[in-house]
């Protein structure tokens, strides 16, 4: 399997009814409906999870580990994302959540927010030292990095080459655990509690590093119901485990990372459509005087991750309330760290997946064909063909992945034409003439073609009939 395109987001085939909601929502047009089931094209998917959000049949899911992963290790450390704290009502002390994680079975916790403060500190230095690459684009959201890798080649040099907080936290957590227990590093399980599928993908197939130190990823939505009763218990005597301040915890919401940059010349955008608009404008150099750009694929930032339970804006408000009691930063509680833990070790390279052909001449011929095909299609972008737009269908056709008859309008017109021809022919038959046999033969051919066209139409209108159900992909 091509690990460059490992994905956490995948389809539960038996639940998919072949509707067009996901193909319309996907920001990279990575999904098609074929034979009544959605298919995600690995090279285009950025694991943003929008399809999970929109699918009313819950056919899109994210791979992640189950809580029993704790049994695989001698000693486990939980890495709670800052967005986890925003999921609970009236939470005044983060230690209650952290203590509940210990009660849940983890041996220790290491807040991602604590590592985020180190990342903020280093980012401030790095950005100040490298004005030649301003504005720097935050690389904490893996979906944004993946999007830039395939779609914005000119912005790769602006990517901040610093590891996301969760990676830094994983390394520090393992080192601390080894020191505390004397166990070999591989006996320690470093488990991230994630708000999104994007970071599940990161843990398996990180960009900027050959390997991630994260051993497993649990979804916040899976541990939320388990944590609630444990928090009641933890409330009685919370342990002193928290080691992050306002800067680190603030990373959970959009604008939090930028706030940690302590600069006024930043921009923070959230929601994948807005992110794309900012990147488009950035590519055209429409911004000047900015030195940092924070981008989060989810509305509201990480609190809006598709694996969380709370409304992102309510969550953001809760995070703000929680934050007001915290000190600005607590980096004095985290150990010294060197650059090898903080910086990327692998470059991120442009993958031109949107290129049509292998050479420019071939691509030109294909693009010309796309333009001609678009003229033929009705331009309704109805999605009945399984592609999100008429243009996307045209591109699928020139790539050899679809045919014109996938367009029910083209097919309908074809049927009309066949009927007209057949009618004309029938009207011209002179009964008893020498050619009668030949005429009837041609007429029969028309009828055969007509019924085959109509069965095509049937197939595209009732796609699921006769299809075998079952999850086509191996689950983790």
């Amino acid at each position: 399997m091509d690990t460059r395109f490992y994905h956490s987001v995948h389809l539960k085939k038996d639940l998919c009814n072949g509707c067009i909601n996901c193909i319309k929502r996907c920001p990279t047009e990575a999904i098609r409906v074929r034979d009544g089931k959605a298919i995600i094209a690995g090279e285009f998917c950025i694991d943003c999870g929008e399809c999970i959000r929109i699918c009313s049949h819950h056919a899109k899911i994210s791979r992640r580990d189950r809580p029993d992963i704790l049994g695989r290790y001698k000693y486990t450390v939980a890495l709670p994302a800052p967005s986890l704290y925003s999921q609970f009502n009236h939470l005044e002390d983060i230690n209650i959540v952290l203590t509940a994680l210990i009660l849940l079975g983890f041996n220790d916790v290491y807040e991602v927010a604590a590592a985020a403060e180190l990342v903020s500190e280093e980012s401030r230095k790095y950005v100040a030292d490298h004005p030649e690459n301003w504005p720097f684009i935050s690389t904490a959201c893996p979906s944004v990095v993946r999007l830039i890798r395939v779609r914005f080649p000119n912005l790769i040099e602006h990517l901040l080459p610093i590891n996301p907080p969760v990676e830094v936290a994983a390394r520090l957590a393992r080192r601390e655990a080894v020191k505390k227990t004397g166990l070999p590093p591989d006996k320690i399980g470093v488990i991230f509690l994630s708000p999104c599928p994007s970071k599940v993908t990161y843990a398996r197939s990180p960009l900027g590093n050959a390997h991630s130190d994260i051993d497993g990823v649990l979804a916040i939505q899976d541990i939320y119901p388990i944590l609630l009763p444990l928090m009641k218990e933890a409330e009685k005597s919370p342990m002193d485990l928290a080691r992050a301040g306002r800067i680190g915890v603030g990373w959970g919401g959009s604008g939090g990372e930028a706030a940690g940059m302590i600069t006024s010349s930043y921009l923070a955008a959230d929601g994948i459509e807005n992110v794309i608009r900012v990147l488009e404008d950035l590519e055209d150099e429409k911004f000047s005087d900015l030195n940092f750009i924070e981008l989060n694929a989810c509305n509201g930032g990480c609190v809006g991750g598709v694996l969380t339970v709370e409304n992102p804006y309510v969550a953001k408000a809760k995070l703000k309330q929680l934050n007001q009691y915290l000190p600005v930063s607590m980096t004095h509680k985290t150990p010294d760290i060197d650059n090898t833990d903080l910086y990327w070790t692998e470059p991120v390279e442009y993958l031109p997946v949107f290129r049509l052909g292998n050479s420019m001449m071939e691509s030109l011929a294909m693009l010309n064909k796309v333009n001609r095909l678009c003229q033929k299609f009705p331009g309704l972008d109805c999605g009945s063909c399984g592609a999100p737009t008429c243009k996307a269908l045209a591109e699928d056709i020139v790539r050899g992945n679809a045919t014109q008859n996938d367009c029910i309008y083209v097919l309908k017109n074809h049927i009309h034409k066949l009927m007209d021809n057949a009618n004309t022919l029938a009207n011209n038959i002179f009964i008893g003439g020498d050619n009668a046999k030949e005429y009837i033969y041609i007429l029969k051919q028309y009828i055969t073609q007509l019924s085959s066209d109509i069965s095509l139409l049937d197939a595209s209108l009732n796609p699921s009939s006769g299809q075998e159900d079952g999850d086509g992909q191996e689950a983790d």
Partner: protein
Amino acid sequence: MDGSLMTLHYDVSPTDFTRAGEASSDVKNKLKQLGVSPQVIRKVAIAMYEGEINMVIHAQGGHITVDILPTMIRMELKDVGPGIEDVERAMQAGYSTAPDNIRSLGFGAGMGLPNMKKYSDTMQIDTVLGVGTTVTMTVDL
């Protein structure tokens, strides 16, 4: 034009800032589909976007023709606007005749033509007062 492998046409609508940039954005996406190098895409996108904005600010829109040639991208931006009175001055960084209402939108910094020249490999301006302006830029592949 002769030798063109593909010709793209765009109408630039007058005084509609919400649509300004649509043409350069479409060209950018097409060049990515063609596998043109990122450096070339960047030059074409920036030069053309500046030109497109100029047509909206100064010339009540116009028409853009983009030719993809074997060795270069050629952009012709044609308007029937007021023409440029002093081309040499217009080419100076920071010089602008944009009215205040345009400047308040963040445009009119006087970098349009200088940036078009900077990001293209050749640029030619044909302008007649009261008749219109045609800017032709090329970017080598």
